[in-house]
């Protein structure tokens, strides 16, 4: 009887490892393109491995890791102390891996001729003190402020680097993804938004911030200040297939994918 109980307990506790050929990745929509493309390439090389990638936002990814619902959490911000405490209390020990660098690009509609914004101007646009492009030397048109929603890691970074504690103006449009910001700014003449580098396209115009254009070079040399690291978190130091996949992300091939999807490689 005792042996049966021990075996049953071992089976239950071990069940999670039985399907170890499946890797699940959840979290940041900014990191999503890197995770998706590296997963696809990795599965081509390793057909026995099945990797599922989901978005949801950095907070959702970290919560999934804390609850044992994912193997890897994608995040465009570092884990918070509160999240770390809850994770450790639940027996999860988040291990941080920086997989790429990213700049947050400020984008406007291509019809807008404004070439540059200072940090102060950016802050005042988002807190509602500047409400018309005329105040910045542009044509008279109301500024349509587009922001990411509050669960977004991109928002967290933007809030820290630009808003410095101010709140986003009440009528700002909060969108759930980088793609949605691009689409809205592209279709709205007076709009301004912010996105990860990887989502820059011809549909929108990136402006310089403090007279520095966002680029790989300016992020790497530290002159473009709206920059951040992108992360993947695992429960403890990665092992087995999870380690192999993360080694691939950090490899030359993986970092080429990072550049291909528009971010800044670590190499």
């Amino acid at each position: 009887m005792k042996k049966t109980l021990i075996m049953l307990l071992a089976l239950i506790l071990g069940a999670g490892f039985i399907f170890s050929n499946d890797i699940s990745i959840t979290g940041s929509t900014t990191v999503f393109p890197i995770a998706q493309m590296t997963a696809e390439m990795y599965m081509e090389i390793n057909p026995d491995i099945n990797i599922s990638v989901r978005g949801g936002g950095s907070g959702v990814g970290i919560a999934a890791l804390m609850n044992g619902q994912t193997n890897i959490a994608n995040a465009s911000r570092p884990i918070k102390t509160k999240e770390l405490k809850i994770a450790r209390e639940n027996g999860v020990d988040p291990f941080e891996i920086i997989i790429a660098m990213d700049g947050i690009a400020i984008i406007i509609n291509p019809s807008n001729k404004i070439p540059n914004l200072t940090f102060e101007q950016l802050k005042n646009i988002y807190n509602g003190k500047i409400i018309n492009w005329k105040e910045l030397g542009g044509k008279s048109a109301p500024i349509v402020v587009i922001s990411r929603d509050y669960s977004s890691g991109t928002f967290e970074v933007f809030k820290t680097l630009v808003l410095e504690g101010d709140k986003v103006r009440d009528d700002a449009l909060l969108l759930a993804s980088n793609k949605a910001v691009v689409t809205t700014v592209a279709n709205t003449p007076g709009a301004i938004g912010y996105i990860g580098f990887g989502f820059l396209s011809d549909k929108v115009k990136a402006v310089s911030v403090g007279n520095v254009m966002p680029s790989e070079e300016t992020v790497n040399n530290g002159t473009y200040k709206l920059a951040r690291a992108l992360y993947m978190y695992t429960n403890g130091k990665p092992k087995g297939e999870i380690k192999d996949y993360l080694d691939y992300v950090l490899s030359e091939q993986g970092q080429q994918i990072v550049e291909k999807v528009g971010y800044i490689s670590l190499q």
Partner: protein
């Protein structure tokens, strides 16, 4: 020290004015629809459907560093008044990242950070042991500081409160404050150990008399030692409690193992067991005043939100309470409870 009146003013301010000017306000509601059947020996003592508990909550966020919570407790059952009862449960405001990083100052009707009562999520339908045995109320009027130890190594808090709990109305007035200190350390992932202490020297005054008419003075010292071990889908809470009022000592403990099947297989069910023991007076051998309670049950998580928190779940608990007093029969309670919540953010 009496700060309730001032806190009520703060509450009014929060509830009426602040949500209108806040960055965003989260509105949420949670309801606990419960069926209970209680057996004393073979006699049915209770059989009812009731709204045993519910919350209506406003959480305005004014800035990144200032937020509030206003919470009304709802309940309606055979024991209460006709219709529904209401209690004010939370009305506080948090100021975070002031002077001390990763810490917040709280003011108002707030959680009491003692033992497990402040993060008790009702995995069992029954309350936390310290709540059930009235060692401490779950919330009280006062102020405090709550913070995290860097790198996820734990948390701490210090509070000064009325010491009478959120349910206190009228009656005698306690002029002295109460103090709570709490520390939880997580030396390594999956192992938590902590302790709490509560101290008050109450000076009760008769409300109808002049303020210098002290009825009595009592000193209360309660403390708790708490531990949690988590591994994969399994975790276990352990708790030791002691309450001493002028030398009369009460003592008890709780052990609660939980297996979360949803973490290892596609069945989102938690299997729960719990054992409580409580002795009202450890010195007294002539009075049979202790009891033990066994709980077994399971929670079926039907819906979860994006962050995996349950939105709709069914709880089934069987409880048996056994008394030291041989004249009292064991009491069995079966509870089936459907808990559901909704929330919405208004910008």
């Amino acid at each position: 020290m009496k700060i309730r009146s001032f806190c009520l003013m703060v509450l009014f301010f929060i509830a009426v004015f602040f949500p209108l000017s806040s960055m965003e306000t989260k509105i949420s509601m949670e309801l606990w629809n419960r069926y209970t059947t209680e057996l004393n020996g073979s006699t049915v003592e209770e059989s009812e459907f009731a709204l045993k508990r519910g919350y209506l909550r406003l959480e305005p966020q004014f800035t990144d560093n200032i937020k509030g919570r206003f919470n009304i407790d709802l309940f309606s059952d055979d024991d209460g008044l006709d219709g529904a009862g209401l209690k004010l449960k939370y009305a506080y405001i948090d100021f975070s990242k002031i002077i001390i990083p990763e810490a917040k100052f709280t003011f108002g009707l707030m959680k009491n950070y003692f033992a497990t009562i402040y993060d008790w999520d009702y995995t069992t339908i029954q309350k936390a042991l310290e709540d059930k045995e009235k060692v401490i109320a779950s919330t009280d009027y006062g102020m405090g500081i709550y913070g995290y130890i860097p790198n996820g190594f734990g948390e701490y808090s210090l509070q000064i409160i009325n010491g009478e709990g959120y349910k206190k109305t009228g009656g005698d007035i306690d002029i002295n404050p109460a103090f709570i200190g709490n520390l939880r350390i997580i030396p390594f992932a999956g192992f938590t150990i902590g302790g709490s202490a509560y101290y008050t020297k109450s000076g009760l005054l008769n409300k109808d008399e002049l303020l210098d008419t002290t009825l009595n003075d009592t000193t209360t010292l309660s403390y708790a030692i708490v531990t949690k071990v988590a591994f994969g889908p399994f975790y276990i809470w352990g708790e030791y409690l002691s309450k001493n009022i002028d030398g009369d000592n009460a003592m008890g403990y709780m052990i609660m193992p939980v297996l979360q099947l949803g973490r290892i297989m596609p069945i989102d069910i938690d299997i729960i067991a719990r054992y409580d023991s409580w002795d009202k007076n450890t010195e007294s051998t002539s009075i049979d005043d202790s009891h033990q309670r066994i709980t077994a049950g399971f929670n079926v998580n039907i819906l979860r939100d994006a962050k995996n928190k349950p939105l709709l779940f069914l709880q089934t608990n069987w409880e048996r309470t056994m008394y030291e007093d041989a004249a009292k029969d064991p009491k069995d309670i079966v509870m089936i409870q459907l808990r559901w919540k909704v929330s919405h953010k208004i910008k």
